[in-house]
Symmetry: C2
Subunit: 248 residues, 2 copies
């Protein structure tokens, strides 16, 4: 009456703190785990940014007048606000103690995704090109291990209508980002209601359950046996352009 | 150098098609699976609605003039539009071929969550009170099996800013909905950037990866060994009220 059809595993891994000064790459580090073909490797964006030395020291930042004015409104340091502005295309919403921007990548999120936590010093923007980072890590792993894997770089973002942050995929390689299921049929042979699935975001959220947000120290997750397409997906394909968004 | 810290399992289960005419309850059906304490049971909302006979036959619906007018604009049947209107508090966005409403529960989603797929006849709204449904299923399972479990009823919803639908939790019982991590510290002892986590939505998305959206026939998922709080969470606590939402 009840039949097991899929068994997916989600394995949370502790790794050393990454500073960017390691004598190994992330691909080399991840390859130390006994990977299998079609494993999906989810990495917290903070680890990727740090490994790419994408951390800005506060005393190197000269805040503009705009950043200084805005910093009073937001209750943030002017240097942090300067980085938020530098990382953004435009401000989407501005409130008494928050700023939502569109980042240069096209993500709509709080503070341009700029992070002060889990960094010992300095201000940490999102990785410059998360799809490229994911691709490099995937290729590195495949070279070392000979395994075909997917790589997702995830972050936690808030969203309209619902409370709480959720894991989303900002960089993707080797696995589907946006899954177009148009033309597929439901159990009664009718066309599907939902034809596009944000599958890499669902995988990113899956990893977030295990990563936690706090001092868990689990920034690396392997998702094994996921029933999803392995193709040339990207994180970019998950971004809804402003012109196509009725909520912008 | 790499240490396994968590191993979560996500088990997709096939069950018989549910019509609401079964001589067993969902709790009785689910209890046939060898459950463990702290398993989280995720059930697709469509199964819950059908088991509650919450399906409206088309020939019992008398569309209003408003529904008839709107149906031309939306390219949907007037009966379907009538149910969408009946299920909504208000229209949030209306376009040439879509309608986003706030449902009576408070969810902001396309078509008030009303579904025509995976139903052999009739129109299927969301469960009337998903938290109550989740609670009843959880209590039923605990009575039969003696196991303490969490129950989440999930659906797929689109979202602003990003393409593709994602699984979200519309009903929750026995497990955390919105996880408040205020005051917790990161690896460097700093307060967390993200203090509220939509953990039940992340669990709902996890289950969606395994459920699929199509004719997979896997509407029931067990998440085992999830590192999350088991408490009196609800789906309601994930809803951001209109007054608190800068995107409404």
């Amino acid at each position: 009456m009840i039949t097991e059809r899929v068994k997916m595993e989600v394995i949370g891994l502790e790794i050393p703190l990454i500073s960017g000064n390691e004598d190994y790459t992330l691909a080399e580090l991840i390859s130390k785990y006994p990977l299998k073909d079609k494993d999906i490797i989810v990495i917290a964006e903070t680890v990727v940014s740090k490994s790419e030395k994408n951390v800005i020291l506060k005393d190197t930042i000269k805040p503009s007048n705009e950043a200084i004015e805005l910093s009073k409104k937001l209750g943030k340091e002017p240097e942090v606000v300067q980085v938020i502005l530098d990382e953004s295309n435009e401000t989407v919403r501005l409130g008494p103690n928050f700023i939502v921007t569109e980042t240069k990548h096209g993500f709509v999120c709080a503070n341009s995704g700029v992070d002060e936590s889990n960094t010992s010093k300095g201000i940490k923007p999102l990785p410059k090109n998360p799809d490229k980072s994911a691709n490099e890590i995937r290729k590195g792993i495949e070279e070392i291990t000979g395994k075909n894997v997917g790589v997702i770089i995830n972050d936690s973002m808030g969203r309209p209508f619902r409370k709480g942050s959720c894991g989303v995929a900002i960089g993707v390689s080797g696995v589907c980002g946006l899954w177009d299921r148009k033309g597929e049929k439901d159990l009664f042979g009718r066309e599907l209601k939902t034809t596009e699935v944000g599958i890499a975001d669902e995988l990113a959220a899956t990893a977030s359950v295990v990563m936690g947000q706090s001092n868990e120290g689990i920034p690396l997750v392997i998702i094994r046996n996921a029933p999803v397409p392995f193709n040339d997906g990207t994180g970019k394909e998950l971004i809804r352009k402003k012109e196509e968004d009725v909520f912008r």
